[in-house]
Assembly symmetry: C2
Homo-oligomer: 493 residues x 2
């Protein structure tokens, strides 16, 4: 038994418990550093990694927990906690089987995902699971993983026959269609309770972008209230915990800078199903430096999405689109938000490509919902922008979520210019994204890139190709350093 | 710039840096929790994971490092350290390629292993590398990994033409031949600078066992001095850092409870080569519940060992042996040491199987070194035990290493008895090993099992099958609980 002391250490998602190195229990019970132990309070327990402390940070009989662990166990300073040896986790046997390339069954995925959600896995164990699944899930396994994710999260039930949703596979900087699509579809009177993710490996996820104009961490109740009032919402999926397992897996994928096929399909569709959607349009942009690199790869993803969608009872339409260059001008949360607002406000300099992509997706949704004949959706969708109804809907949704505000860009900027005259021939999306990330995106919402050099543009030496935005001088310097030294970023011939 | 405060937190192998949550640098430079940063002092630097602290553990302008990080950076309280953004680690690109099943070249393994040894990988990144390699290294990759491990560690040069070594693949509880083999071979006047590992997934590694009778964490200089004097030594490989990369990889494998083929071959042979060996005998016991489960698997390992050995210029002889049941009576560090001492002392109740295995290996080494004709080695080896020369040599080596002491077993014991009359038909090595581990082995050196039920023994209901030893009551109860409930541990018919 230990008295809990709040030592205020934030070690993010991993539960850590700190006890004194000379603690009698550490000797009598044989606890050693990095042992995984179970920590009990009031009938609840968590699994935590043991760290020992030699300083006077802790007094005799005291123990500390990392902040995440305190929240998970729901304890406060002064509470009496107990530590026990950990029963071996049965589901890790399945993880080991997967490490050795075995195919896992439904029961295995259910067991693993349940333990992950219960916080029983260490970061090392999570990393092993994510890695073992990265290149090696077949269709059945993706279906099992998807079902296990749905089973361990919340699930929303709407009293409507048609509940729409959309998803873009991403990898194309600035392709921020979601707020436009949701505004159009909701303005058309259809239900679209949209949840979005934060960035995994990109400079901005849709939720990161939305956070610069409104509040996105809505509770499930709040989300239902917003949809009830405005037909649609723009929420962060992580906050409603529709797929809590996915949030933890994404955290590991982020740390490893990987984003694998099977886990992506499971992640996307589990969230759609949990959100109560019935019809979903998935946009797969492909191009040499997009996330999906070839038409063949795009077709494979299309197959997975449709087969898994069918297995879980979700009607899934796929759009394959052009991913050869950035969409809009901004890359990074606030800069992308500015593009979205320009489109919805019908401004003359609004990016035409972003508008085109958004009305294509919105049009497909309007067709699926029977609002117009096949082939007429895009024009109908576009009319909601022209009429101003879509912009009005965006502001209304943001207001219902907690308020609408203008995005703020970073105050430190640097313009990268053309080294010679010529025509823009090729653009490396991945390198552009890296610059935006080095500048601080998405953690710093004002950081990113304002892009001025689309494919085919004729430039003169000294013309601005793009401008880097950062919130701090240090980050600006860091991004500049990379931009100055990297090859084949924008090819001019 | 921060003033370093010694906060005395031991987080084992991972470098962690703690700064105040309200530290100005954390805002101006955009550092967030779990960011990987580089920490600089006096021209040296390490990579560390950032944790923030909200309590008064740290004053303004102060930062803390975990103990491992303080050692790696060679800093003390009061030193002025600086924190910088981390340049992206190029070698992680190779790790990602491996995650997606690509074959890696020599350069990739060199780059990864160099960064691992330099402490640049987080636990999540290490876990991803270990997992990605677990089931997926071809022969070339194993050779590259082995060479990279040799290149990043120390290497000993002996002025002898023949330097012997032995290794047992393990997985058979109690099969502690090393101290016997080394004693015989050194007594015969041959050079055998043996380094051993601590347990990865077993209840005792040879180094764990040796630690109960002498000092095993020898420096390289001390090891050379012992071999100079006594022809052989019994050192812990981790202390001499012959393959520092391997120590870190093994730490992750241990956490995941996996021990994969390619990494095992690289681990074993890199250490033999680094230790300056020229001829090595590798014992591969196989059996249904041993680490190597079938003759086929044993042959595959034999192929890998010989091919990699040849590639790095090491003469490698393989022995395939019986791994169907525990060897000797003890399982666990001190209990296994007692078996070894009984054999070397020629005691009447000494385990005959252990003696037989040891003289087989020692005999093969004597033959390889040209001490006798092929086929005569085992008898010659055995004569060194009978004459007492081998025991004398063991004590001399231990004395040279820092002193010889008798092993001490745990004082809490519990006897598991037969539930019915019959004959012992089958033994599950893995489950026996698990009981010994639950009792505290290898961390608690006196913990483990004393085994009384070899295959074929006739037992009566109530006869003792084995006795569990533990150093604490809690661990004894934990091991008993598992032994009481597990099925198919020892099958009596």
């Amino acid at each position: 038994m230990f008295i809990l002391k709040n030592i205020g250490i934030d070690s993010s998602h991993e539960n850590t418990i700190y006890i004194r190195e000379d603690s009698p229990i550490s000797h009598s019970e044989g606890f050693k550093v990095l042992t995984r132990v179970s920590v009990h309070f009031n009938g609840r327990h968590i699994i935590a990694t043991l760290n020992t402390v030699e300083s006077d940070l802790l007094g005799e009989g005291e123990a500390g927990l990392s902040e995440y662990a305190m929240q998970r166990l729901q304890v406060h300073e002064g509470d009496i906690i107990t530590i026990k040896h950990l029963q071996p986790l049965a589901s890790l046997g399945y993880v080991r089987a997967k490490i050795y390339g075995k195919e896992l069954g439904e029961e295995a995925f259910q067991a693993i995902i349940r333990d992950v959600v219960d916080g029983l896995y260490s970061n090392i164990e999570l990393a092993a699971f994510v890695t073992a699944c990265a290149d090696d899930l077949n269709l059945n396994e993706i279906i099992y993983l998807t079902k296990a994710m749905i089973a361990t999260g919340q699930r929303i039930h709407w009293s409507k026959d048609i509940v729409l949703d959309k998803h873009c596979v991403g990898g194309v900087p600035g392709n921020r269609t979601t707020p436009i699509v949701v505004s159009i579809v909701a303005a058309a009177g259809l239900i679209i309770p949209k949840t979005s993710s934060k960035a995994i490996t990109s400079p901005a996820g849709t939720a990161d972008m939305l956070e610069t104009i409104t509040t996105v961490d809505l509770s499930l109740e709040k989300m239902e209230e917003v949809v009830e009032r405005e037909n649609g919402c723009l929420a962060w999926g992580g906050a409603v915990r529709l797929s809590p397992a996915d949030d933890l897996l994404i955290y590991i994928e982020k740390a490893l800078d990987i984003d694998s096929e099977g886990q992506m399909v499971a992640s996307v569709l589990s969230k759609k199903a949990a959100a109560g959607s019935t019809h979903v349009v998935i946009d797969i942009p492909y191009g040499k430096t997009a996330k999906v690199r070839s038409h063949e790869e795009a077709l494979k993803l299309q197959y997975y999405f449709q087969a898994v969608g069918e297995a879980i009872g979700l009607k899934t339409d796929i759009l394959l689109s052009d991913g050869s260059q950035p969409v809009g001008r901004g890359i990074g949360p606030a800069l992308e938000a500015l593009d979205v607002l320009r489109v919805l406000k019908n401004e003359p300099d609004a990016p035409a490509d972003l508008r085109h992509n958004a009305v294509t997706i919105a049009g497909k949704l309007l067709e699926t919902a029977g609002q117009c004949a096949p082939g007429e959706g895009a024009a109908l969708a576009d009319s909601y922008i022209t009429s101003g109804q879509a912009y009005k809907k965006l502001v209304a949704i943001c207001t219902a979520q907690g308020g609408f505000r203008e995005p703020v860009t970073g105050k430190h900027t640097f313009a990268v210019t053309a080294g010679k005259d010529g025509t823009v021939q090729e653009i490396d999306n991945r390198k552009l994204a890296r610059i935006a990330k080095l500048a601080g995106a998405p953690k710093s919402p004002g950081a990113g890139i304002l892009f001025d050099a689309p494919l085919g543009r004729t430039v003169k030496k000294g013309d601005v190709l793009f401008t880097i935005y950062a919130e701090t001088k240090g980050q600006l310097a860091y991004a500049r350093e990379y931009a100055d030294t990297v090859d084949h970023l924008i090819i001019i011939t």
